[in-house]
C-alpha cells in the first residue's frame, strides 16, 4: 500500500471551522493528506463530513481556518480550487443529467482547456485540435471507469452505480492531485462496492491522493492508509485503520455508549440500523443533505 513517491502533503487543512448561525457544523478541524495516500473520513450522520468537504472545495467559505493545496493557500472559490487540483464527487449525485456521459466528462475537462468563445466561433485548427484532444482524454477516462460503451447515453438514464462512477470520471477529468469522494458506495450492492474499492486503488496508483467519506466501515478499513473520525464537527481520532477501529470513543460515537458530547440517542439508533442493513442494503441515501 505504500508508494515510492516521497510523501509530501497534498492537502493541509488547518483549524477549519464552519458555523451556520448558532450551529457549529465543523469545529477547528486539522487534516493532512499526503501524496499517494488514501485517507478516510468517518463519523455518524450529521457529524459535519460533507460540510468539511464543502469547506475544502470552496463551496462554503469556512468561518475560520485555511486550506492549502501543495503548500499554497486556496481561495474559497470552487472553480479556483478545482483548477488548483482538487476534484470532488457529491454525496447526492450531481451529474449534468441532461448531458450525455461523454459531455459530462468533457465538462470536467474545463479547467484543463482554455478555448474561449472566439475560438469556438472561428473554429481554427487550434480549436479542432483541442476539442479532439479533450474527447480523446474523456474517452480514455470512460474506458478506465468502464463506461466507454455508454458514452452517448444521457447521464440521467444510467443506473445508480454507474452514475456514481461517472461522477468519479468527471472529477478525474480535471487531472486532480487530490480526489474527494463523498460516500462513493452509498446505495451500491456488495459487488459494486468491491468494484469501487478496486477503482479507488487504481486511482491512487495513478498518483492521485484520495480523501473519502464513507459509512461502510469494511470499505473504509480495507481501503485507507489513515482514517479520521468526526463527531459533532470535531475530529475525535485520527490514525491507521487498526487504531481507529479499536478506539473506544469511535465505537461509542457509533454504538451509543454515553460519553462526553455524544450525539442524540435517536441518531445512534439510526446509525445502528444503517450499519446493520448496510451490507445488503441497496437503498439510496439520495435524499440526505449534501
Amino acid at each position: 500500500m505504500t508508494t515510492t513517491t516521497a510523501t509530501s502533503p497534498v492537502l493541509e487543512a488547518t483549524g477549519v471551522t464552519m458555523r451556520f448561525g448558532g450551529l457549529t457544523a465543523v469545529r477547528n478541524v486539522d487534516l493532512t493528506v499526503n501524496s499517494g495516500e488514501i485517507v478516510g473520513l468517518i463519523g455518524p450522520n450529521g457529524a459535519g463530513k460533507t460540510t468539511f468537504f464543502n469547506c475544502l472545495t470552496g463551496l462554503y467559505v469556512p468561518t475560520e481556518g485555511k486550506v492549502a493545496y501543495k503548500g499554497t493557500v486556496l481561495p474559497p472559490k470552487p472553480h479556483l480550487v478545482t483548477s488548483a487540483g482538487i476534484a470532488r464527487t457529491f454525496q447526492n449525485i450531481r451529474l449534468f443529467a441532461n448531458m450525455t456521459v461523454l459531455e459530462n466528462v468533457l465538462v470536467g475537462r474545463h479547467t484543463r482547456t482554455k478555448e474561449g468563445l472566439w475560438s469556438a466561433l472561428l473554429r481554427g485548427p487550434g480549436f479542432r485540435k483541442a476539442e479532439a484532444a479533450s474527447r480523446e482524454r474523456a474517452m480514455e477516462l470512460l474506458e478506465f471507469i468502464g463506461l466507454a460503451h455508454k458514452a452517448d447515453h444521457l447521464a440521467r438514464n444510467l443506473p445508480y452505480g454507474e452514475q456514481r462512477k461517472l461522477e468519479i470520471a468527471r472529477a478525474l477529468a480535471s487531472d486532480p492531485g487530490l480526489l474527494l469522494l463523498d460516500e462513493p458506495t452509498a446505495g451500491m450492492n456488495p459487488q459494486e462496492t468491491r468494484a469501487t474499492e478496486e477503482l479507488v486503488f487504481a486511482i491512487r496508483d495513478k498518483g492521485i491522493a484520495v480523501l473519502v467519506i464513507e459509512h461502510d466501515m469494511r470499505f473504509i478499513f480495507n481501503l485507507c492508509d489513515r482514517v479520521a473520525c468526526l463527531v459533532q464537527g470535531e475530529k475525535l481520532v485520527e490514525g491507521t485503520s487498526e487504531v481507529v477501529q479499536g478506539d473506544e470513543r469511535v465505537i461509542a460515537a457509533y454504538l451509543g455508549t454515553p460519553f462526553e458530547g455524544a450525539p442524540g440517542d435517536e441518531e445512534i439508533a439510526e446509525v445502528e440500523a444503517a450499519e446493520a442493513t448496510g451490507a445488503q442494503s441497496t437503498t439510496s441515501t439520495e435524499g440526505s443533505a449534501q
Binding site: 470552487p78 448531458m99 465538462v107 474545463h110 474561449g116 466561433l121 444521457l154 438514464n157 480535471s174
Partner: protein
Amino acid sequence: MTTTAKTTPTTPDTPRGLIPLPQSAARVLIALGAIGTIGSTYMSWTWTSDFPGDLTYYGSPAGLQILDLVAGVLTLFYALTRWNIRGLNWLNPAGATAPVFLAAASAFTVSWFSALAIAIDLGGLVNLDPGAYLAAVASLIAILGALALPSPGNTAKAWVSKPDNIPPAGKLPAWGERLVITAATAVGLITFAYGIGVDPDASETFIGFLLLVVFGSWALLAAGLVERFSVLNARHKGFATSMAFLAAAIFPFVENNEHNANLGVNILVVATVALGLNIVVGLTGLLDLGYVAFLGVGAYAAALVSGSEFSRFSGIQFPFWAAMLTGMAASLIFGVLIGAPTLRLRGDYLAIVTLGFGEIFRITVNNLDGTSGPNITNGPNGISMIPDLEIFGFNLGSSHTIGSVTIGRFANYLLLMLIITAIVVLVFNRAADSRIGRSWIAIREDETAATAMGINGFRVKLIAFALGASLAGLAGTVSAHVGYSVNPAPYQFAGSVPPNSAFLLAAVVLGGMGTVGGPILGATLLYLLPEKLSFLKEYQLFAFGLALVILMRFRPEGIIANRRRQLEFHETEQADIPEQSLPDTTVGVTKAGA
C-alpha cells in the same frame, strides 16, 4: 357505433376498430371519402362571393377549397397505404392506423370548419351549395372509415400518437437524401408562403390553413416521417441549413408583395432576437425577462448614428457596418452593465432583476427628452425619419427588378436580415457545440456542480448574457432602419405588439428551448397568428395564454424538441427503456364490441 353491419369477428388476432367493419370496407370508405372530398373542392360551396376566398366557382378550387383539396389528397394517399401499394409504403412505414386517422381528421376538420363557417358567417344553412354538403359528407365517411381501421390501442392517445414498431428507414443514396431534404424544404417554403399570403381579412381561410397544417404534420409525425427526416437533417446538417436559408432567400421572389415582405422582415427580426435569447434562456438557463431592452439599445444606437435629423447627433451618419458594430457594442456594454451585478443572483431573483432593468431602459429612454433629462433619445416621440441603409453604394430603400420580379424595399431588408439571421444561427451552433457551450449547459443543469467542476459560473454566464445581448443589438440595428423610426413603446415586458420580452420568451419556450429551429418557428407562429386572426383582436393575449397553457401541458419540450429535452419530458420514449404497456384492461374490448 350504431351500425347494423355484421359484428361477428372473423380474425380474432387483428384488433378491430371502434366501428366494426371488415378491413377492406374500412379502407374503401376512407378512399371514397377522400375522393369525394377532393371532388367537392371543384364544386361551388356557397352562392355568394361574400365569404372570404370566393368559393362560388365550379372547376377551380379557391381559398378553403384548396386547403381541403390538399387534405383530401393527403387522406387518399394515406388510405392507399393500407393496400400495401409499392412506392407508397414510405408514407406510412409501420402501416399504422394513427397517421391514416389523422390525415382523415385533417380533411374532416377543414371540411366541417368550412361548412360551419359559411353557415354561420352568412347566416344559415341555405347558404351552402352542394359542394359544401359533399365535402362534409365525404370527409365524414373518410373519418368513419378510419375509425374502423384496426384499433392502435385502448386509449384515445394511441389513435393520435406514433406507434413503437416503426421499421428503420431503408438506405438511400446520399443524393437521394439531399433530394428529400430539398423537397421537404420546398414544401415548407410553399406552406409558409401560402400562410403568410392569406388575406388578413380572411381569418376563416387562415384557420383552415392551421387545421390542415396541424393535422397534416401530426399525421406525418405519427407516421414516423418527422423523426426520419430529422435523422436525415442531422446527417446533412450543413446542406439542410443552407437549403433552409436558400428557401428563405427565394421567398421574396415567390411572394412578390411588399406587405408580406415586411411581415417577413419583422418575423426574421424577432426570430433572430429569440435565437439570441435562446443562448441565455435555453442554453444557460438564465431567465431573462428584460431581454427586449437589448434590441432597443441596438435600435437606438443605430438610429442615433443613422443621420436622421431627429437624432441628437444628426450630423453623424455611419456606414452600415459601423452602425452595426455600434449597435452591437452598445448592447454588449449594456448587457455587461446589467449582467455584472445581477448574474450573481440565481433563479427567480435574476428574473425579477432583469425584468426591472428592462423597464428601466424603456423609462430612461422615455425621459431622455430634454425636459426630464438630457436630450438624447427625443423621449416618447422617438427618432423618426431614419434614412434607408446603403451598403456598397446600394440603397436598400429603392426597389429594383431582377428578370420579371421586382424586389422592393422590404424584400431588400428581408435579404439583409436573412444574412444576419444566418450569422446568428452560425454563432449559436458553434458556441453551443464547444467548451463554452458545454459549460453553459452544465450551469443550466446544476450550477453548484458546474462550479465544482472548475467553471467560473459568473464569467461564463456573463459571456452568455453579453453574447445574447449583442446578437439582439445586431438585429436591432436593422429593425431601426426597416421601421423608419424608433420609439420606446415597443420595448416593454408584455404587450400586444410583438417585440416585447414576454413575446420573445414565449417564442423560445413554445418553439423549443436550446434548439435553433425552435425559436425561429415559435417567433414565426407568434407573429403570424395575431396578424392573420384579426378577429381575435382584444382576445389576442387571452388566446395566446391559452395556447401556451395547452402546449405546455401536452408538449412541454416545445414544438421542436431538443433531443435532451425530449428525453427529459417523455421518460418512456428513450431507446433503452422499453415503453411500459399497461396490462390489457377490458375497457377497450367492451368499447369495441359494443
